[in-house]
């Protein structure tokens, strides 16, 4: 009985930590797809970039962990604005097929570049001493880093939700998601709003990739391997929604962890079956604004 309870707690704990990371990475994708209608399969590239920035700025340049996290966010956000202005914005009016092809092209390039710079090996993450070891709570031991992940991601999520629900910028984003043309006609500069939101979403992906570098291994094939997971979070959650992907990410995180623990021989099978079932039941996702 005690063993079963402890494995349940352990699965829930690791699943939530994984789900939180998935959410921080994918929420930007949900917002940009809902806001701009852009099918950006290359979102995982930003997460991978965040992971590489974190690992190399610690191991090569000897930066501290918090500073490295900040770097991951700022650098990825800045780079994404450049990409958005120069490349993505040319394809806002293009067909879905072209957006898919274009972003697959970006993934191919990012994978090759990562391989050229960092090689094919997985990057080790050097954690600060404070985050190693165990954390005692209610008579159980938890890995300290996972606790930090849950708390840190929770803070990010809270800040994001406050920003979208309570600030002027958030109101403008919500207005533009609901009706872009109307938002534009009442004087919202949607072009600038898009760039800003895109940068924030990508920066969050970078931050998520950096935070999660210990859970989701940082290696060149990252954007391909985890693409299905990021897309699943968005598709199940629903485009343009904040709550939906949160529920979806936690669901995927916990289910995936449970399946890998109890039924390792089935691999990621259940996630895909669940995705298919949910999308057949609600094609627009659980909390989708539109299909």
């Amino acid at each position: 009985m005690e063993a079963a309870a402890s494995s349940l707690v352990s699965i829930a704990f690791h699943g939530v930590a994984y789900g939180m990371i998935l959410y921080v990475i994918s929420v930007g994708l949900s917002v940009t797809m809902g806001l701009m209608g852009f099918t950006n399969l290359a979102h995982g590239v930003f997460a991978m970039a965040g992971g590489y920035i974190l690992t190399s700025s610690i191991s090569r340049f000897g930066l501290g962990f918090p500073l490295a996290l900040g770097f991951a966010f700022v650098l990825v956000a800045t780079a994404s604005v450049v990409l958005e202005r120069c490349l993505y914005s040319r394809l806002y009016a293009a067909s879905e097929l072209e957006q898919v092809l274009f972003t697959i092209g970006l993934i191919f390039m990012a994978v090759a570049i990562a391989q050229l710079i960092f090689g094919t090996l997985q990057q080790p993450v050097l954690l600060p001493d404070a985050l190693r070891g165990q954390f005692r709570l209610l008579g159980r031991e938890f890995p300290a880093y996972r606790v930090f992940l849950i708390v840190g991601s929770g803070a990010i999520v809270a800040a994001l939700w406050f920003g979208v629900e309570r600030t002027r910028w958030g109101a403008m984003v919500r207005a533009a998601v609901d009706n872009r043309v109307m938002a534009q006609s009442i004087g919202i500069n949607t072009k600038r709003l898009f760039a800003l939101t895109f940068a924030l979403g990508s920066g969050l992906a970078g931050l998520g990739g950096a935070l999660g570098a210990e859970i989701i291994a940082v290696q060149p094939t990252y954007p391909f391997e985890h693409l299905v997971y990021f897309l699943t979070v968005v598709a199940i959650g629903g485009l343009g929604s904040l709550r939906g992907p949160f529920v979806a990410a936690l669901f995927i995180g916990v289910t995936d962890t449970a399946c890998k623990y109890w039924l390792p021989q089935f691999g990621a099978f259940f996630i895909y079956i669940a995705t298919i079932a949910i999308l057949l039941w609600r094609p627009a996702g659980l909390f989708g604004v539109r299909a």
Binding site: M33, E98, L101, I104, A235, G267, I276
Partner: protein
């Protein structure tokens, strides 16, 4: 007429509206002349040639649903893989070694999967459809990966033995039989697909691609047409997969998953999507370039592929054949002036 969302700006135009011109032009004989010439002139490269022909068949099946019907899929390799594994498992485990029978079974298996999944995914659009195709392909990959006793898992399925075609033509070491066998099948499928595209059925497909709502409004059975073409395309992809099994006498896990789907899409885009012969040009150039360049510069190969995709989308939406069409049109205009 306003072009629809699926293929807007790809440069696909037809002088007689949506129905393609059914008359054979002399240029359409060129691919077959080249293929026969290659058989005699490049006897050392026939195995490679068989691979190219197989992928042309596969690309043709994708062109049918993506280029003509506008169904966006990231999981077309599911049908290719099911065909390959169906033929492989029957030949290696059950001792069913007749190539024609294997092709029929592979087409049937892929067709059943096509109609079952198509009936479901074609009710959705956009992101949901994209995700469903991706998830279904991922499920197929997981099954092949885990059902080791049947499929060999990550090690692949070896021990595939194939008896001579019609009991007469044995698969030889130089790929002569394989090459001609692939060419014969490709010719048959090309004829079928060409007839289909030029028929009213093909015109309905193009109409659905451009504007499904309007096709609904004029009374076309949109959903039924889509399921039909999806199933047909799955069967062709299954035949291509079975051909790969027969010519390689091996099935690897790399016939399934996201990567072969993405690679196939790259080939089709390179040649020109929504054109019958884009599916011919793309795989030929892609596989040749891969054969030459990927060995010499493996680390730059994917960089080049990515760059090419980005450039094609930004500047040359009709692919290589689109560029060729543009050049021909320019020369003609100059000749008239």
């Amino acid at each position: 007429m306003a072009p629809g969302r699926a293929l807007r700006g790809t440069g696909v135009k037809s002088p007689v509206g949506y129905a393609a011109d059914a008359r054979l032009r002399w240029t359409e004989g060129l691919p077959w002349l080249a293929a026969v010439a290659a058989f005699f002139l490049l006897p050392d490269h026939l195995s490679f040639g068989a691979r190219v022909l197989t992928y042309i068949l596969f690309a043709l099946s994708l062109d049918l649903i993506l280029g003509y019907a506008g169904i966006l899929t990231l999981g077309h390799s599911a049908f290719f893989g099911v065909g390959a594994y169906a033929a492989g498992i029957l030949a290696a485990k059950l001792g069913l070694t007749d190539p024609v029978l294997l092709l029929a079974v592979a087409a049937g298996a892929a067709g059943v999967l096509g109609i079952a999944t198509g009936a479901v995914i074609l009710r959705t659009r956009g992101l949901a459809q994209l995700m469903l195709t991706l998830a279904i392909a991922a499920v197929c990959f997981e099954i092949a990966n885990k059902a080791t006793p049947l499929t060999g898992g990550a090690d692949g399925l070896s021990g595939v033995r194939i008896t001579p075609i019609f009991g007469l033509f044995r698969f030889d070491l130089f790929g002569r039989t394989a090459y001609l066998w692939c060419l014969l099948l490709l010719f048959g499928v090309w004829w079928l697909v060409r007839r289909l595209i030029c028929s009213p059925f093909g015109a309905t497909l193009t109409g659905i691609r451009e504007n499904p709502d309007r096709m609904h409004a004029i009374g076309a059975p949109v959903y039924r047409r889509l399921v039909m073409v999806y199933t047909l395309s799955a069967m062709i992809a299954g035949v291509a997969g079975a051909l790969l099994t027969q010519t390689n006498q091996f099935v690897g896990l790399n016939v399934l998953g996201f990567e072969p789907s993405g690679e196939l899409m790259v080939m089709l885009i390179l040649g020109g999507v929504g054109r019958l012969y884009g599916a011919f040009v793309g795989p030929l150039i892609y596989l040749t370039a891969q054969d030459v360049l990927a060995k010499q510069f493996p680390e730059y190969w994917y960089l080049g592929i990515g760059l090419m995709l980005v450039l094609v989308v930004l500047f040359a939406r009709g692919g290589l054949l689109g560029i060729a069409d543009g050049l021909v049109a320019r020369v003609r205009r100059r000749a008239w002036a």
